[in-house]
């Protein structure tokens, strides 16, 4: 990796002089002057392997030809890439590679984008080979990935990518010499992360996607550069289509924040949009049933009902809930619509489920609503602390940054996770960890407290902090003195020494990034856990140090946008608190109206109001509270109580089935807009296909309704909304492709250190009481699966082939305890209900815990208790103690 301080050397390539940092490979230096040296095995993401021998070049004073992909430049080097000798060498290597190649281009999916084809053409390659070609037996490889080993050029890019970048190691070369073929381990179909990296990186047609097999030639496809809609990582991807048909997704090397890497959801999950059950027409409930109507009818009906209810009960009898999967423009317009056209502050979004915890903590301590770090800071970090992330499955691409930092850049990794460090079919971040605190999710907070305690007791605090803010440090010290190491050890099962060692590493490092994942953010201690992590940064003096910061990982692709667009009740656009009067006035003036003055209700409060009858109508956009909230919330009963429920949806969900009006919405593959990823990059979403059926982008629906309600918010296209957002939110207009992260607001830090910390110090640092779990029970947790994200992915045929149903993941020791084997059925029961499901034994699951994938968790979710954070109003319903019994 080149650093700005690297020594520059001057070399000649084909007579052209080029200055490059010392250590640059010749092939990369040549690229800078526009000389493309042919290659198969070289890839900038991988360590050079120099096995294809295609990139041979002549270097002056070196007797033999050298491989440009493995030779670093040296001062004064004179490289020739176009001499007869070099050309003959390239031709001869190509002749060898073509020798055993089946030349089946007419039926090869790579045809038209194949390196071997291109080079053969370039060198007008012929082969004198007339012997018998080597033929491999065709084998079934996997449901999603197809291999055709006769086409393989044995460059091992796939194997190296799977190991070096993904850390999965699912592929290996098998056999020797010309009989070398790429296989996976075991006598079953491939079982891996299905990131599609091998498909993308294969220079020929040896590894291809089965989802688009034999369906196209590259030149038939239309391409759209857009952003993946599955998680907060915000990966740029190219969606390729043939007419209205979705054919393939890939991502070019170097593209977007993901640098061309994708995960299973991004690569194989694109079929959700074209699912046959998509809603294509507006529906209105008539005589108890939803019937198809025209848009005019539906919209006029909604407008009439809104006017009636508003006249009778006023604006605050309305509520709105929107999904963090919508674009910024839609989120913005939704809250503007509710606040201005309807006149209510009862607005919430899916950011409420966890992201709000991280945001509120950041706002309180450092005065920002975004990360103060970027993905680059993760790569450059000296120490990375991962708390409750299970990053491989929740935010796979952020996970790749962590893997690169640890594997290639020698970062030290501290993990507080419930994962057992074992090798199985997926990469496991705990395997890379230097300090792994394996701890049940519900006890995560104790481990963070342990680190803070170690920092204070080992005198690892920033020296002048105690002088500047003695009351804060003293209060922390005395609060932590009440927590004994014995209790911590009893609660976490971890020796005090381990905390001390990790704390010393973190405090001694220069660049420290702390990442908090869903398992923390969505837990009962989500908010306090984030504050404690920020305390850790503050105490060690890392909060405002360059390259250091706190990074809560967004679960949904635009959770961050939902916060910034003011689509949670406590915030205005720009993530300003609604209690900030100057901001209120400024925005009201821009919007040319009055903002409602009532204190808004969050999601759970809205449902409660609906249940008691004070909330009369709701707009629900892309959210499914009936399906995703536990039974104790009684979401269904609350929504049934409404006079008007308008749902904008892709599919008829449990919630939409209760609605009075269902409006078909366009998916993110069908509209323009922007998504803000977890690190705060606002990225363009572009349509790949036309909206399916009569569906329309959500913003068009809000806009149309606003006109009918006589407070017109008219926009010709979503760009105009973005323009309005830019004029409204300071700093938003200057966002380029690589915006600078915000700086820590020192006045906010001072406020926090003076008295902000006191608000919930006691609840964060309290003596630990440990509740024991009765025999015959397990701790049931909802877990994110790599192959799914939300409900949308469960409509994607590709992902369903990898994981088609929810199976309870249990540890081998629990399997033995309950006498279970893979595929057995169990009944889980708690005081709230019961369910039966199949079990899957996974070594990474800790003993005493059972994980159920959240997107198949409809039945499971009913078993959970719900705790609501008193400050952030985040409902937490991720764990429950259930008894488990085998059933026939």
């Amino acid at each position: 990796m080149t650093t700005p301080t690297a020594q520059m050397v001057r070399i000649m390539i084909d007579g052209m002089t080029v200055n490059v940092p010392k250590g640059t490979l010749v092939i990369e230096a040549a690229r800078r002057v526009g000389v493309m040296i042919p290659h198969f095995c070289y890839h900038p993401k991988l360590k050079p392997d120099a096995n294809c021998r295609m990139c041979l070049v002549e270097i002056e004073k070196v007797p033999k030809l050298q491989t440009a992909c493995s030779t670093p430049v040296d001062e004064g080097m004179n490289v020739r890439t176009a001499t007869t000798v070099v050309n003959d060498a390239h031709k001869s290597v190509l002749e060898f590679i073509l020798a055993n190649h089946p030349l089946d281009c007419p039926v090869c999916d790579q045809g038209g984008k194949c390196d071997l084809q291109d080079f053969s053409h370039q060198y007008t390659a012929t082969s004198r080979f007339t012997e018998t070609k080597r033929v491999f037996q065709k084998e079934y490889f996997s449901p999603l990935i197809e291999t055709q080993m006769n086409r393989c050029v044995q460059c091992l890019r796939c194997v190296r990518y799977c190991d070096e970048v993904m850390d999965v190691k699912a592929l290996a070369p098998v056999g020797r010499g010309t009989m070398t073929e790429i296989k996976h381990f075991g006598f079953h179909p491939l079982d891996c992360e299905f990131c599609g990296g091998c498909v993308q990186i294969c220079p020929v047609g040896a590894i291809t996607s089965r989802l688009s097999m034999y369906e196209y030639r590259p030149w038939m496809l239309k391409r759209a550069e857009t952003i993946c809609g599955y998680c907060g990582d915000g990966c740029q991807m190219t969606v390729q289509t043939k007419g209205q048909e979705l054919i393939e997704v890939n991502s070019a090397h170097g593209a977007g924040r993901n640098n061309g890497d994708l995960c299973a959801r991004g690569f194989f999950g694109f079929h959700a949009a074209s699912h046959p059950q998509r809603l294509t027409h507006p529906l209105i409930r008539r005589h108890g049933a939803l019937v198809q109507v025209t848009w005019e009818e539906a919209l006029e009906y909604v407008a009439d009902r809104v006017n009636e209810i508003k006249a009778a009960h006023g604006g605050p009898s309305f509520g709105g809930l929107i999904s963090g999967r919508c674009t910024n423009e839609e989120l913005y317009l939704f809250q503007k619509f509710l606040r201005m056209a309807i006149g209510t502050n009862h607005i919430d979004s899916s950011a409420r489920y966890g992201h709000v915890n991280g945001l509120q903590a950041m706002q309180l301590v450092q005065g920002t609503h975004r990360w103060t770090v970027t993905f680059e800071d993760i790569l450059d970090a000296d120490v990375l602390i991962l708390v409750g992330t299970n990053i491989t499955e929740t935010n796979p691409i952020t996970g790749l940054k962590v893997k690169e930092a640890v594997k290639k850049r020698q970062a030290t990794l501290i993990t507080i996770e419930s994962l057992e460090p074992v090798v199985d079919t997926m990469s496991n971040i705990a395997n890379l960890s230097h300090h792994h605190f394996r701890i049940p999710t519900s006890d995560t907070h104790h481990a963070i407290v342990g680190l803070v305690k170690a920092v204070l007791e080992q005198n690892l605090t920033q020296p002048d902090l105690a002088q500047r803010h003695p009351t804060y440090v003293n209060a922390m010290t005395s609060a932590l003195q009440q927590i004994s190491w014995q209790d911590l050890q009893a609660a976490t099962g971890i020796e005090p020494d381990a905390f001390v060692r990790a704390a010393k590493v973190a405090a001694g490092a220069r660049r420290v990034v702390i990442m908090a994942g869903q398992l923390l953010l969505r837990s009962e201690q989500g908010y306090s856990g984030c504050l404690t992590l920020l305390d850790l940064l503050l105490l060690t003096g890392k909060l405002d140090a360059p390259g250091c910061g706190f990074a809560p990982l967004a679960e949904e692709n635009n959770d961050q946008g939902a916060i910034e667009m003011g689509t949670v009740t406590e915030l205005l656009p720009g993530a300003q608190p609604i209690t900030n009067d100057t901001e209120r006035e400024r925005i009201a003036k821009q919007w040319k109206g009055e903002l409602p003055t009532d204190k808004g209700a969050s999601l759970i409060e809205m449902l409660e109001r609906a249940r008691v009858g004070s909330l009369k109508a709701m707009f629900i956009v892309g959210e499914n509270p009936v399906g995703s909230l536990p039974a104790v919330i009684h979401a269904e009963a609350s929504l049934r109580n409404l006079d008007l429920l308008v749902c904008q949806e892709l599919f008829l969900t449990e919630t939409a089935a209760l609605a009075h009006v269902v409006l078909p919405a366009a998916s993110s593959l069908e509209k323009h807009g922007t998504f803000t990823n977890t690190e705060g990059h606002v990225q363009a979403v572009r349509p790949a296909i036309e909206p399916v059926g009569d569906s329309r982008p959500d913003w068009e629906i809000f806009s149309a309704l606003s006109i009918l309600l006589n407070s017109p918010m008219e926009y010709a296209e979503s760009k105009e909304i973005l323009k309005e957002i830019r004029s409204l939110i300071p700093g938003y207009s200057s966002l380029g492709p690589t915006p600078l992260p915000p700086k820590v607001d020192h006045s906010a830090v001072d406020r926090y250190l003076t008295d902000g910390y006191q608000r919930d110090l006691a609840s964060r640092y309290h003596p630990i009481s440990r509740a024991s779990r009765p025999d015959g029970t397990v701790r049931l947790e909802l877990a994110q699966s790599l192959f799914h994200s939300g409900k949308l992915s469960t409509r994607s045929k590709g992902l369903l082939q990898v994981e088609g149903s929810g199976r309870l993941r249990i540890s081998p020791s629990d399997a033995a305890r309950f006498a279970l084997s893979d595929g057995d059925r169990v009944r889980l029961s708690s005081t709230s209900g019961e369910m039966t499901t199949e079990v899957k034994i996974m070594e990474r699951v800790p003993q005493g815990t059972a994980w159920f994938p959240s997107h198949f968790g409809q039945a499971a979710v009913q078993l959970f208790e719900c705790a609501i954070d008193p400050i952030t109003h985040v409902p937490s319903f991720r764990t429950a103690t259930v008894s488990m019994m085998k059933v026939a």
Binding site: A50, N51, M54, L65, A99, N100, T126, S127, T130, T178
Partner: protein
């Protein structure tokens, strides 16, 4: 294997009379004309290779005289002065190789003893390990001391089960006697030696592939640079030395570098070489002779001459990777320089002799089959080239050849050699290139026969 003399005694290496391993000894060889160094002990009647026997012959005295008395740098200097060159094939000066290790590196460094002897026609290391394991071990400990390594691995060819058991046994003896382990002979030096059996790949004798294999990975050669001296086993400074090279060390230490440097054909090829003579000779076997002896002397005086008294037709001077030579080269001196000047290489010391009447096409095909089987498949030219060459050779030998095949063969050889990561590419083309050079008419005859008989052959098809 030394000579074909009758095997007259069976001895055991077991403790207290428990027969662990039966070692076949040949002891009625005529006394050689030159002083033996490496094979001296094992040629003694009744020598079992046990620690006691080895100590009786002055074994481990070199180690005793080194530890605490010579600085590691002095040992390296002595070895450099002796002119000892690697006996594995490449003939790199051993002392110079040791000198490449970074001086100030703090972490661990490793010694790997390359005992993967898989070169067809080479069987010297096997004998050195099976008959006199302590001589090798003493050399290993000395080398470890010189390079500052606390750990040595003997990477032994998987098929040499007996050798690995004997080495394990010898290591046990040496450890019990304090020659290996913590605090060797009270010097404060720690040296541990481990035996690792390969799994049957020729390429694992290539030093970087050996390191990969030792690390538990697929044995494929690494790109050089970086060299093992700086980035070797587990990315640590590492020296890889051949068994015979290491076995020479105790003698060099004991008798001084000047003595060693005077043997053979100084200044560049010093010491003796154990030549593995095989093929159509009367007495195939290992013969230790000073470097610089002519092939004629080795074949006719040591190996007893040709099997059926037919004239010699061809020989390979240094293992399968070395190009064939002809009777015109019988007076070439067997040292690094002279063999190279004759167009071949001294290599691993495997001298394979062929008598008049041997088909050179068949001989080249046989070796090509070996190289085809053993090409690891990493580099395209070698992987695809070996299968192409072997198929063409099979066709020519089966009288299905065409005249243009010969040009294709030479062209392919040219395109493989020097274009691969390791030296395998150079090695695999040697048999074809050298037989085509010296015995082209044999190829032509076979092809003419095919043409005359109008044997069915595939039409050449130009493929794009």
């Amino acid at each position: 294997m030394a000579g074909t003399g009758k095997d007259v005694s069976s001895e055991t290496l077991g403790e207290a009379g428990t027969p662990l391993f039966i070692v076949r000894l040949a002891c009625n060889d005529p006394m050689p004309k030159h002083e033996l160094i490496l094979l001296k002990n094992m040629m003694q009647p009744g020598y079992t290779g046990s620690l006691a026997d080895y100590e009786k012959t002055g074994g481990y005295q070199a180690l005793r005289n080194t530890l605490g008395k010579l600085a590691p740098a002095d040992v390296t200097a002595i070895v450099r002065k002796s002119g000892l060159r690697g006996r594995g094939g490449a003939g790199f000066p051993t002392g110079v190789k040791w000198g490449f290790l970074p001086k100030d590196y703090q972490g661990p460094r490793y010694l790997c003893c390359n005992a993967d002897e898989s070169e067809p026609g080479t069987f010297k290391d096997r004998q050195l390990m099976e008959r006199d394991p302590h001589q090798v071990l003493e050399g290993i400990v000395l080398a470890c001391y010189a390079i500052g390594s606390e750990t040595a691995y003997i990477y032994i060819r998987g098929e040499m089960v007996l050798g690995s058991k004997i080495l394990e046994h010898a290591i046990g003896e040496a450890r019990a006697a304090g020659y290996i382990g913590k605090n060797v002979l009270g010097s404060g030096i720690n040296v541990d030696v481990w035996v690792h059996r390969g799994a049957g790949a020729y390429i694992c004798g290539e030093e970087t592939a050996l390191l990969e294999s030792l690390e538990g990975k697929r044995g494929l050669p690494r790109i050089k640079p970086p060299f093992p001296a700086t980035h070797g086993l587990y990315n640590k400074p590492t020296v890889v030395n051949n068994v015979e090279t290491l076995a020479n060390l105790p003698h060099i230490i004991t008798r001084g570098p000047e003595w060693f440097a005077a043997i053979g054909s100084p200044p560049k090829s010093t010491g003796t070489r154990v030549f593995c003579v095989s093929g159509h000779v009367k007495r195939p076997g290992n013969y230790e002779v000073p470097m610089g002896m002519t092939v004629r002397e080795l074949v006719y005086e040591y190996a007893g001459g040709m099997r059926s008294d037919k004239p010699l037709k061809a020989f390979i001077p240094g293992g399968a990777s070395a190009p064939f030579l002809t009777p015109a080269h019988l007076d070439v001196k067997l040292d690094f320089e002279h063999v190279a000047a004759a167009g071949s290489m001294l290599g691993s010391g495997g001298v394979t002799v062929m008598e008049e009447g041997t088909s050179m096409v068949w001989a080249a095909l046989r070796l090509m089959e070996f190289f085809y089987h053993e090409s690891c498949g990493k580099c395209s030219p070698c992987r695809e080239g070996s299968s192409w060459l072997v198929q063409t050779m099979r066709r020519i030998f089966a009288k299905r050849g065409r005249m243009e095949d010969l040009e294709t063969l030479l062209d392919l050889c040219k395109n493989i050699a020097g274009r691969t990561v390791c030296a395998f590419g150079d090695a695999e083309v040697a048999p074809i290139q050298s037989t085509l050079k010296h015995w082209r008419h044999e190829y032509v005859d076979l092809i003419n026969e095919a043409e005359a008989a109008n044997l069915i052959r595939p039409e050449p098809v130009a493929r794009r």
